[in-house]
């Protein structure tokens, strides 16, 4: 066996990070009662803007800032259309994805980066030197930790903070929340922008760390996977981590098994990430969607 389990587990975290980032943003959006199917579009715009910002400034972290801003800006279009003009959320989200794919291709025309811009891996003192666990958990780039920190933050926010309670109330019953005097649209616009920023970060992670290059269509459907994982994780942050890491893990594992020359037809290995993620997340009990998910709201009703 040439598979090194330590390296495999370390690679898993890197492969899962873009999906996790995009999914945690969408989770907040959906908990506020909005279904934004434009994740893929916001991701890819984040990928190209992050790439350009990072390479023109020479600082990859500025690239991530730019990506988050670009993702949030794009999501604002969705927010205005769905929250103020009351367009259908499904159609608008799909439109946003197509718009984002085209826009990214346009922005990316002729963009050239240098192969030398890299996001350095951290070497957390002491922890990184622990055998086995050190290389798996404590020798990644800062974005891997940021993605986990965002998940933890979202969990704490939704569970313990007053603002989180309001956001959930808006998602469960926007009429009641409105009757109590909460500004439903403001809450949702903020949630949508948070989702956009996270999707932007996810895209930039692909174009600045995982690949790292800019090529048309680079996200290759990762945004759709993120959307699916939110549903399968029944809108719960910790399950989201399980789902994203499982998907990333099986993806990396199947490549390793192929290289190992395992006697399983390659077709089955290729579908394994999707199957494993669906099976496991369905088994840990499907949850209930926020009651107002996808419904338009107008303060007059």
């Amino acid at each position: 066996m040439d598979i090194n389990p330590i390296l495999l587990l370390a690679a898993l975290m890197v492969a899962s990070t873009p999906i996790l980032l995009a999914a945690i943003g969408e989770l907040v959006v959906e908990r506020s009662g909005v279904l934004n199917l434009g994740v893929e579009g916001m991701m890819i715009v984040g990928a190209v803007c992050g790439y350009i910002a990072g390479h023109s400034s020479g600082n990859p972290y500025l690239g991530f800032v730019g990506a988050a801003a670009a993702g949030a800006a794009l999501s604002l279009i969705f927010a205005v259309l769905t929250q103020f003009l009351l367009t259908n959320q499904v159609a608008t989200g799909l439109g946003l994805t197509m718009f984002g794919l085209g826009l990214s291709s346009l922005i990316g025309q002729g963009s050239k980066g240098s192969p030398d811009l890299t996001v350095s891996k951290l070497h957390i003192p002491l922890l990184a030197d622990i055998p086995v666990i050190g290389p798996i958990l404590f020798q990644h780039d800062v974005m891997v930790y940021l993605s986990v920190a965002i998940v933890a933050g979202v969990w704490a926010f939704l569970k313990y903070s007053r603002a989180g309670l309001i956001l959930r109330a808006v998602g469960e019953n926007h009429d009641a929340a409105h009757a109590l005097g909460y500004n439903v649209r403001a809450v949702r616009v903020l949630a949508i922008m948070f989702g956009g920023a996270c999707a932007g970060l996810a895209g930039a992670y692909i174009s600045l760390v995982r690949v790292p290059q800019w090529i048309d269509g680079i996200t290759a459907g990762a945004g759709w996977i993120a959307l699916a994982i939110v549903v399968f994780a029944s809108w719960k942050p910790w399950r989201l981590i399980a789902g994203a890491y499982l998907f990333g893990g099986v993806t990396v594992l199947q490549l390793n098994l192929q290289a190992e020359g395992l006697k399983i037809p390659v077709e089955y290995l290729s579908m394994a990430p999707y199957l494993a993620t669906i099976v496991v997340l369905v088994m840990i009990r499907a949850g209930r969607a926020p009651a107002s998910l996808g419904k338009s709201f107008h303060p007059s009703t």
Binding site: I206, R210, V211, Q213, I215, G217, A220, V252, A259, G261
Partner: protein, 360 residues
Amino acid sequence: MKRRTLLATGAGAAMAAALGLPARAQDKTKVGFIYVGPINDGGWTQHHHHSAMEMVHHFGDAVDFVYQENVPEGPDAERAITQMALGGADIIFTTSFGFMDPTINVAANFPDVKFEHATGYKQADNVSVYSARFYEGRAIQGTLAGRVTKSNKIGYIASVPIPEVIRGINSAYLHAKKVNPDVEFKVIWIFEWLNPAKEADAAKALIEQGCDVVLQHTDSTAPHQAAKEAGGVYTFGQAADMAEYGPMPRISSIIDNWSPYYIERVQAVIDGTWSSVNTWDGIGAGMVGIGEISDAVPAEAKAEAEAMRDAIAAGTYHPFTGPINKQDGSAWLAEGEIANDGDLAGMFFFVEGIEGDIPS
């Protein structure tokens, strides 16, 4: 985006027709290209586009050039090709294997338009096929890989299981084995020509399993980036030179040089001498170029590889020369026997020594 130019010329043609103007006031030859990827992929499509641009510069004002990038293989390709034919193209190049059936289907509807399909095998009266003998370049890569590897593990990122890709794996393996009997090949199929994230993941998986040479039959430079980050891993440019990753990790490359062919075929349309042909050229004819072998390769190995390149170009050496057995141990080529083009074109087996199955 030339897609817009395409629309604009289409709209212009429609307006000219509406105004009763002759549709082809100027006697330009309109040349169309259908690409599977974006023209900035750094590899396959970029090089087709590069060659097409050289063709355009060669003819100057005599040709009108249109292209459409990112055309998915499958039914949508038919729409894209039809649209281009309706737009008044005189000759259309479709540059991916998966455009084969769409090209044949559309060609049947436009008998006056000439079609050129890259890497396929279905010809028609107005459809030519052309491809390059990439396996000749793979022989040189295999030789270099066998010489530079220290771990004796060579990774191969394979794209789609078709004969062209399988020929490349076989050729590389045979020649690596010849100079280094201990080599072992690890093949990962990603089922796509271009998916940078997957290519990067595949390259990382191969490197983590100890491969210190990674060959690729996919179109992006992502594997080079992964090799660069890992350090001490050798790669080869695919379709384009990818020289920006030299001298390490990229130590050589296969360069697709389509421009002489494009110039010749467009000239034939201009002259009215175009006829359907089946072209399969290699290093000798200049369709397959071998990129500069970098100084990271020991001088002896470099000389050896260059000698092989010259022998193949001169026609004195064929990469598939027996004795060669198939994977199951049955004989394919006897001692000194040279593979015929029919066998090569339809090759769907690994040679003896490669582990794993070809996905069907």
